[in-house]
Symmetry: C2
Subunit: 163 residues, 2 copies
């Protein structure tokens, strides 16, 4: 059971964008350089966050990515969901209905208790992630972090450089 | 993020074994027929539960699998863990320490707050599964279920039949 490696990228990029001045943006190339990530693949993943409303993208020479709504309204679940769908890792194939032990159909109207308990665990995971916003994450950073983040980002060219 | 398909098999097989009379066993071939599963692969997975102490295996003509400890002491987490290790689906590669945004080492002695929150969510999932025992699952079945399970199992030959 694994989440895509890009989950870490996007959690960090969203945290970085949450530290910009209102209205400021960062390009995919800047974020890729900031974390030493493959720019084209990162750009694709950032677009998934745009589709989810977590980020907004603007075009033009000063264009780039910014938060799509206030940091307090973006939870870790929103981000993880945009990358992986956050569907349950458990797949019930209704094996109670197959083989020599197959249960009569009338006993299978309700969800199997095992599938139900696995779903409850997944909901506990989701609830935990839904309880943490980007604003909470920012509040846990050292007070000097946002200014440093902004100045380092400003030092990176906005468009991809040959490397 | 996916758990192996055999997770469902083992949750159900353990639930089935929990319904046997004390001391009784069922063979891998019987369980495979009971749920219409591939016997050799199921046998391998059942051995993982034996290694985890969830099941005990006996040999000989009446040999087979039984619970390795009381149903009240076997949780869904024990079973899921035996199949997949139940390690966190989130992998932190310490991207905060790489690229142009790399944090100074002295700010990285504590776990990254994002990795910490992802770990908390995984712990919530684990706690949820650890809170449900096979005894709880049995208690939720219709009272007539164990007798039916036993009689159906008894009707299946103990050794693999050519199919
Ligand atoms: S039938 Fe799928 S978990 Fe029980
Ligand atoms: S460095 Fe890995 S989650 Fe922050």
């Amino acid at each position: 059971m694994k989440l895509p490696a890009s989950t870490e990228w996007l959690l960090h990029c969203a945290t970085t964008l949450a530290q910009l001045e209102p209205g400021a943006t960062a390009s995919a190339a800047q974020l890729a350089d900031y974390y030493d990530l493959p720019a084209p693949y990162l750009a694709k993943q950032l677009q998934a966050l745009v589709r989810a409303g977590v980020l907004a993208a603007t075009t033009g020479p000063r264009g780039g990515f910014q938060l799509g709504r206030p940091a307090a309204d973006i939870t870790l679940l929103h981000i993880v969901k945009a990358v992986d769908g956050a569907s349950s890792p458990y797949q019930c194939k209704e094996i109670r209905q197959q083989g020599r032990g197959a249960l009569p159909q009338e006993e299978c109207r309700r969800t199997c208790v095992l599938a139900e308990k696995m779903a409850e665990a997944h909901n506990a995971w989701r609830r935990s992630l839904a309880g943490v916003s980007l604003a909470d994450i920012l509040a846990s950073l050292p007070p000097s972090a946002p200014a440093r983040t902004r100045s380092r980002l400003a030092g990176i060219p906005r468009s991809t450089q040959p490397r």
